[in-house]
Subunit: 498 residues, 2 copies
């Protein structure tokens, strides 16, 4: 039987998805399981599979097949969206030649591994040559893609994570937030300074108990452990495949709150992955809609749902039981104050939602300068410290708490950071609409029942895959395009009005 | 610069090795980490990577490159051996078409997963259709390879695991053992029945303590944890890559001896992998010499070294400290009796070295009949039970303790079993020669110092990669070809003369 161009493409992209899944699992293993001596052979595996995937997608038959599928009048809207995603992936891949793809994979693996030690030892110099190599290759990639996409080199990188995203639009949004947040932050800090003092939770908090508690919350939220795991890594992330979602966190036995919120955050990512349309598994259109939507799902769970008073009413008895806590420190009032505490800090992943955008704006500025060739990596620690001083008025005492804290640049993920703040705004807008559509969402969460919330997200977001653009997905789900007012309203309600 | 055919082949096989390493890691993950719901996507990943590897090795350029490299007068002996191994791999791969390779990979992944549950529930019927599918495809593979290799279908499968191995030779060896063992077993059982009764070790033995103890012994033996891990799986194995060796075991909290010996056994495999020549990493000649040599390394450590009185002198205080044991049961005399106890049992991996060959001979008979088409899988449980009754005089009460116990056939590994007993004989011969060359080996083991033994193995076996045939490797290391008398002498000394 002769395959239509569309059928042929489906077969090819199913195989591409399998290679991508293998790569994703090997990346997870590298972060969560691999002993340090495995790095050379793992880097080789990743580089070779990456180049194989690149060769598959840049097969000379692809352009004609894509043309043929785009001209096919019999495709339904999902199939059409599938072809559009195939085209998108092809444009990105075909822009870069095979040698560069393989060199970048190898450099990123090596740099990530050196970064693990460099971060632990706060030794930026140790990772500098590898980071320069990654940046150099990334800039080559950016220029090659910019040429084909007709956008700036930075936008070409951004487009990998946020399809259709452009730095000029982000500038506008960030300027808007930049006008609002400093004054707002001052107001919040002043209010919290006059409020009831937060009572500390006394540890230690054994890692095994933290893990068990995390698993309890994951289960309550709807995470399917038949299709995923929870492990540990230096940098918490959500990896694996949509059918086998691998979450990681890291435990601090003196403070469980960071690991726990990390788990809830990554669970938000995981619920999205597990909820993507099963009928489209293995096809481009069955994938997530890009990183701002992905981050909206993690932040909706972590920030919107799980720092609410209702969540803490459900969680407080579980926390007390797990850690043997008692007294006023373990009551909902104190936990709520603890979980909505605003503070200028050095670490992005530990930041509250008021100061978080400042961390993102700093990284966005720095990575744009680096890609444009205006910031040398040797100058990164100084530029970082200066930038944080300017934007938050604090200076990290060490590079570990400064430019070494995040894996992204070391692992080759440039153009990714702005999606965190776009995700935060999207999360606020989605959650506002969800609560308006389903007034039982918050009361249910107070009972540990997340089904109403998850049901809404499954229908409005997860089940769509990437059949809609980011803009249309948000508009369809909420009735309007992305609007920063929801995020501002959320912050005002939680931090000033309550 | 134009590459010579040999250089071109080295590049191609380095990439093949990377794909093979990725496959190996994904197999390890499937057994040790993967949640059950990940099986479909994992099977797809394995099938696609297997077919990619097959396409790479059956590339139309290969025959000319192999011819060219074989005609190259400038290759050194290692390079020549490397080309010979490349040729061997090519013959095996090119014999089978791509569709069959992919179908077999998919069927084996599926069957292995169903087997995990079927084994736990002793439900052979649940796995029968998948097993029939695996066998059917394996027989097609065997026939295709037999045609190209000019051997029988069974020998074609055997040759994958034991290069140059032939069933007719094994028949001879097994007949020899078959003459010796039944009478010998009776003598040993009679002797042990009259000896001092074995005192049981009282548990429970927490899994975490068993694991820590296993890691202590692994370190003492020379396992490099920068290049490997110890985890858990249904079926203990040694997987991963030579630079990142992944061992697994399974813990029984009522009895630590089985898991511990499992760890020591797999450590023997791992030491071989970690000791292969680093200069030839990623090339065929840098690989292990096949499964009988691999098994000789695990059995040399487990059976020859770690059931010796000297090992138990070193181990006894550690065992007592770990589990808080005291009294006569924990003394070296009793531990030696425990670790050299001979007993007719159902489970191969728990079998002592006297009854072990019977388990292997049974499987060898059954798998030959199955590949020849003389045994239907529906009749396997009956044939198994009848065979075990005939060979050991016992009948398993359930299929879990019978034909469901081993992963091999369900995972597509037919023709593998005889290598265990060839390995046991090789281990005895190597250990006899090592002790004769280095009389300090056993006294050192009594102090927990394995360096003299490991040094001898590294030089005589590990560092050779597969530059020599199995026969020449044994002859070079010990001064004579494989000779079953060493195994018989070892058994007599340990079980009758002591």
């Amino acid at each position: 039987m002769i395959k239509t161009p569309y059928q042929d493409l489906e077969d090819r992209f199913r195989r591409l998805d399998a290679v991508g899944g293998a790569l994703s699992m090997l990346h997870w293993d590298m972060s969560a399981m691999m002993p340090s001596g495995g790095v050379d052979s793992r880097s080789e595996q990743l580089a070779v599979l990456t180049s194989i995937r690149h060769a598959m997608i840049t097969d000379p038959a692809l352009p004609d097949l894509l043309d043929g599928a785009e001209a096919d009048q019999h495709l339904d809207p999902w199939q059409q969206a599938n072809v559009a995603e195939m085209r998108r992936q092809w444009v990105h891949s075909a822009a870069v030649d095979a040698d560069l793809v393989e060199a970048l994979s190898r450099a990123a693996s090596k740099c990530e591994t050196i970064w693990r030690t460099a971060r632990a030892e706060s030794d930026f110099k140790a990772v500098l040559p590898s980071l320069e190599e990654v940046l150099n290759l990334t800039r080559q990639e950016a220029e090659a893609k910019a040429d084909k996409l007709g956008v700036s080199p930075y936008d070409a990188l951004l487009d990998q994570y946020e399809p259709g995203g452009r730095a000029a639009d982000i500038d506008e949004v960030f300027a808007h937030l930049g006008d609002f947040l400093p004054g707002f932050l001052d107001d919040v800090l002043a209010k919290q300074a006059c409020g009831t003092a937060i009572l500390p939770l006394q540890g230690p908090f054994p890692a095994a108990k933290q893990k068990a508690l995390g698993q309890t919350f994951m289960t309550a939220l709807g995470f399917d452990f038949d299709h995923g795991r929870l492990d540990e890594s230096h940098h918490p992330f959500c990896g694996g495949t949509y059918d086998d979602v691998r979450l990681t966190t890291r435990y601090d036995e003196a403070d469980f709150t960071s690991a726990l919120m990390g788990v809830l955050h990554e669970t938000g990512h995981a619920l999205y992955d597990q909820g993507l349309p099963k009928a489209w598994r293995g096809q481009p259109v069955g994938s997530d809609r890009g990183m701002s939507i992905h981050e909206s799902q993690s932040l909706l769970i972590e920030m919107q749902a799980c720092r609410s008073r209702e969540f803490l009413e459900y969680a407080a008895p579980l926390l007390r039981d797990t850690f043997g806590g008692s007294g006023a420190a373990w009551e909902v009032d104190n936990l709520t104050r603890l979980y909505t505490k605003v503070e200028k800090g050095f670490i992005r992943v530990d930041a509250d939602e008021v100061t978080y955008p400042a961390h993102v704006i700093l990284r966005f500025q720095l990575e744009r300068a680096a890609i444009a060739g205006d910031l040398q990596m040797a100058d990164l620690p100084g530029a970082w410290n200066e930038g944080l001083q300017k934007i938050l008025g604090i200076t990290p005492p060490t590079d570990r708490e400064g430019c070494l804290q995040d894996i992204h640049w070391y692992d080759g993920a440039w153009g990714y950071f702005p999606t965190y703040t776009l995700g935060a705004m999207t999360a606020a807008q989605l959650f506002a609409k969800a609560k308006s559509d389903r007034p039982d969402i918050l009361p249910s969460i107070a009972r540990g029942d997340f089904a109403p919330l998850l049901g809404w997200l499954r229908e409005r977001v997860h089940a769509k895959g990437c059949s809609l653009s980011t803009r249309n997905l948000i508009a369809t789900a909420t009735g309007e395009p992305l609007n920063a007012d929801h995020f501002k309203a959320h912050l005002k309600t939680r931090y000033l009005d309550s």
